[in-house]
Symmetry: C2
């Protein structure tokens, strides 16, 4: 049984459709590849109560990990830490370790000539003001530290919304933790492509193959233009080693290929670029 | 007060990071532009209980609209309608109007020579099997109809996950409804760009401008490379006409520009392409 994760993305820009949520996509892909099962992704705006509600609801479902992105910066609408504190009914307090990280960043900016003097203004101290009991995570490329806090068996990790900062903290501090907790389970996937057969005709064939290959999950995705449609068949499995995974996926692929061809369809193992 | 909407996206491919959630982005942008306020976006996998839970939780928050995407097709893992029926404690039944839509599609495919005979197999009838009391929405480009059902003041709309189908049903059947309900409120937005000033120095300036321009929302987004950073300042407002919106946004932009320059920064009104 894989460890479960929920992802919470904070930011009005996601709710007004200004920003495409590449952070959720990146995190889901990375966590899945490390053997973690992402169960839910939630996007909310920059409102303390909304953030607190989503955190509380997520904690009730008891995932092993919650990762939030966004809302850690210096501006008034960076409200994630306030939301977490409210959800946990804890105070916000200046965290000395986080403040040291923030101070070192501004000292570096000063040395690089980006600032006239090092001054820890209230917006800067805000980035080091964490819920009681939280710890800070080093940010290799930006100013706001990541934050982590454990609550009744759930590890809550707050990352910034700026993608290079989110990714850098994840790789440095979060990935090693997930890798350790995921144990030996790894996620494997591959796709094949079919045309000359409708999705509604494929459905019972997929059922049949999944019935005899219970560890393989197969999902069909209609692709291509309306006049030249084809169907992507995505095969995935979670296994302890690639040999087991390849054997499982291979068996399911061969059987589904046979069935597709028996039903008048064609099978391809690469996207037919000429179709689009 | 704008009408509120929640978006629910169903699909394991979103949770494993295989597919970037462009549907949520597209829907959020279109709904916002029609004057609707998107409050939450949730992504769940292809599991009946998960879908039912998310629908139930969303209904408890009483948004005017819930739009789901994905899970309406013919395959075993298209489970959105089953999830909705479970959430509402209603039976699934073959809907005659929906069945007529599905039959007409297959008759058209037959005439185009894509099928050897018109046959309403169980996977095809499944696309017309809706929760009691639901109505179908015409799908101009694909097979699975959209579905709509009203529950205690919330209009729940289920759209397919294939983007051209989702968009076509939205434009034909959903946009006119949203436009009517949104009344006269419209969303207006614009951005300016600043460099030579840190986000933590901008924070109190933004606070000040928002304090004196209460209908304008300003959010800063760090952009650019680490060595050549700049900050996008995104201004938005909801207003009944563009004249009001332009006056509000213009006033806030002028004041923030002055403050940025007084604090040693530069202001640009286009993205500085040469920076990246």
């Amino acid at each position: 049984m894989s460890q479960q994760m929920e992802i919470i993305c904070v930011g009005n820009e996601l709710l007004i459709g200004k920003t495409l949520n590449t952070n959720a996509h990146w995190l889901a892909k990375r966590a899945t590849s490390l053997g973690i099962m992402v169960k839910r992704i939630t996007v909310v705006g920059d409102e303390v109560n909304e953030i607190a509600n989503v955190i509380r609801e997520s904690l009730q479902r008891k995932p092993r990990f919650i990762i939030t992105t966004g809302g850690l910066g210096p501006t008034f609408d960076d409200k994630t830490l306030e939301g977490i504190a409210k959800a946990l009914n804890r105070k916000l307090e200046v965290n000395e370790e986080a403040l040291k990280m923030v101070r070192e960043k501004y000292e570096a900016y000063f040395k690089e000539g980006k600032m006239e003097k090092v001054e820890l203004t209230p917006p800067r101290v805000k980035m080091a003001t964490l819920p009681e009991g939280a710890e800070s995570l080093h940010n290799p490329v930006g100013t706001a530290p990541g934050v982590t806090i454990e609550i009744d068996g759930t590890v809550l990790i707050a990352l910034p919304g700026v993608p290079p900062e989110m990714e850098a903290i994840f790789e440095e501090s979060v990935a090693p933790l997930l890798r350790k907790e995921a144990g030996e389970a790894m996620f494997f996937e591959t796709s094949m492509y079919a045309d000359g057969i409708m999705e509604s005709a494929l459905a019972p064939l997929i059922d049949q193959v999944m019935h005899y290959n219970p560890y393989v999950y197969i999902k069909s995705h209609p692709r291509g233009e309306e006049r030249k449609p084809y169907i992507e068949l995505h095969f995935s499995t979670t296994a302890k080693d690639s040999k087991t995974a390849k054997a499982r996926l291979g068996k399911a692929i061969i059987r589904l290929s046979e069935l597709v061809q028996e039903n008048g369809g064609n099978v391809m193992f690469q996207k037919r670029k000429q179709l689009s």
